[in-house]
Symmetry: none
Subunit: 194 residues, 4 copies
DNA sequence: TATGAATGAGGTTTCATTCAT
DNA sequence: CATGAATGAAACCTCATTCAT
């Protein structure tokens, strides 16, 4: 007799949104954004084709929502690291282990964002976001390497970031043929953290 | 009006093919394969839409032809390196400088292939090709690091490859904000080549 | 929480129905029937999309209800005119002033119906209604002009009707640029009513 | 062996464009712009759905092209009238007969434009065009009535225009029930042209 | 060899309508 | 009485591909 309660509706909404985002993330990551159709997303999410447009203005808006989620997830990595009182080496170890863990447990997000880096149009939308992320990571790395006592902390930070990207990129393309775990241990050893 | 000789025809063919490949490479690299239309390629190449189908069976066939070109170009890097008699450090320096030069003068090829790495379907087509390349690069690196006398040449080779990929990936997304030249010098220094 | 009385319910019903009709009329008149969505109507009426279907079988049924309202409103013009004892010139003046007043205070209705005249499908539904209206207006005009003593009252009635339509049509398309009030005075003068 | 000649292509293009415009005009006029789908236009024009987009950027662009055609056609009415040396009464007669002829032989154009007058969005696009047309018609009428010697030529011109619109509007909604020919004769008589 | 008009499948998006609550 | 999440048909539009010349 009466309409669904607000709470009920909110639950339903969140379920549908989550299903759509999850489906889209999977497909975007595996087939690429442009090659993924709304139909495919709807089918994967087991909802109707039109439902996406109840929650997102367009396919692009859905992409942006997913990227924001990725950014939020990424933020969760840092808090334990940003504590200044911790031993910098301990922080570095946390970053390495945390990043390997994050990337392996969020491969889809990583794949998606990495793939967008190569699309000019996407870069225009995300460019500033990526530049800011990059800058803050480099800055953090620089500080740590300085505290630890390295000579050229800025370049060290760049090397550090490049290693991450290169390792994960190779991991994505070579999959089980890439010695990911070995590389994690190598990094720990490289920075004298074992 | 006079019938063209076979030679003349061949020249025309090669010009058209080259124009199509060049146009497609540019557009694929900048906008992505899926987001690039045959119309756009034809317009960029200043030929008709239909002509593409005289030389390539499909859009995909055009992509494959470009990838093969990239592979051939990549091969040209190595010959001077593969000479066993050369000093391994000299070879390493040649690889570093050569790769930086190759990537910066062939950004489009690099971008295109890197972007395809994130598309499962493309990977299925190119997977073996990439794996072989990777394996042979790793193998070459391993040999060099061993000759030079490093401790764990295999892992060193993986690090070496990862650094390249990471540096170029960051270069692509950050563009002029990334200190590419500094990173080249850093690599030379890192391997004690200056 | 307490159950509403039948009377209360009836009031609510009428309010909702009125709100829906009013919203629909506005939107239909300004954007056209086909270009107006149920969503837009519901939003404008500040009720839910589903509610419309409690009171009207379909979007078309809502349109028909509005047209009927317009017809009823139109009827209200005539009673004071149909009194045979009144001076025919007085009646003519009443018709002119009344019509100008009605159209300017019910622009939406006028616009909606005028716009439907150009849609074959709508005409099929409203055709007879319009023909009857037209016929009765012409008949009324004919009688008046005859009583007043004009020569060719039938054609005069057609001219009279055409003037109205033409004036209001221009008023709708030219808006404030059209000298509507001047035209009213002109008509009064034309039929020697001032 | 060789591509179609430019001339051949131009002929084909013009045929397709004409077929599309004709089909669209018919459907727009009979069912209304919004209620007419591209599919329906393509079917009526006996071409494929996609072909419209070879020649027009969008459904709206097609509409605009048709309106421009209508404007061009409308222009053809005037030349014989604009000659200052002709007797003004003769000119008035030409305008009346010409307009009746034009509207009856171009009902579709007239219907389409008249129907768009009631759509706010369309008016925004065509507003200036209509205002200019209206202004120039009124101006022309004013001059003629002045030359002929009428008292209030400006208002006469407005009445003249309103009569046209009203007559044709009634003709459109009442069709064969409206005495169109009688109205033409009436107008000729009204302005003392017989 | 070269063209570009034409096709139609399939993409993104809108929306009237249904229905569980 | 009232809600709005969900549906799916159908709208507008794009594009790889074909083909007559």
């Amino acid at each position: 007799m009466s309409p669904k309660t607000k709470k009920q509706n909110e639950v339903i909404r969140q379920q549908s949104i989550a299903a759509l985002k999850q489906a889209a993330l999977n497909l975007f990551a595996h087939k690429g954004y442009s090659s993924t159709s709304i139909s495919a997303i709807a089918k994967e999410a087991k909802v109707s084709k039109g439902l996406m447009y109840n929650y997102f203005d367009s396919k692009q808006a859905l992409l942006l929502a997913i990227i924001e989620d990725a950014a939020d997830l990424g933020q969760e990595l840092l808090p334990n690291v940003l504590d200044d009182t911790t031993d910098p080496k301990e922080q570095l170890r946390a970053i390495i282990n945390g990043t390997f863990l994050w990337v392996t447990s969020n491969v889809e997000y990583y794949k998606l964002i990495a793939s967008l880096v190569f699309q000019e149009e996407a870069l225009e939308v995300m460019g500033d976001f990526i530049k800011m992320k990059a800058a803050s990571h480099i800055h953090l790395g620089e500080q740590l390497f300085q505290k630890i006592g390295y000579d050229n902390p800025r370049i060290m930070a760049f090397e550090f970031g490049a290693l991450f990207d290169g390792i994960f990129m190779a991991h994505l393309s070579l999959k089980e043929f890439y010695p990911l775990e070995e590389m994690r241990l190598f990094m720990l050893k490289k920075y004298d953290l074992v």
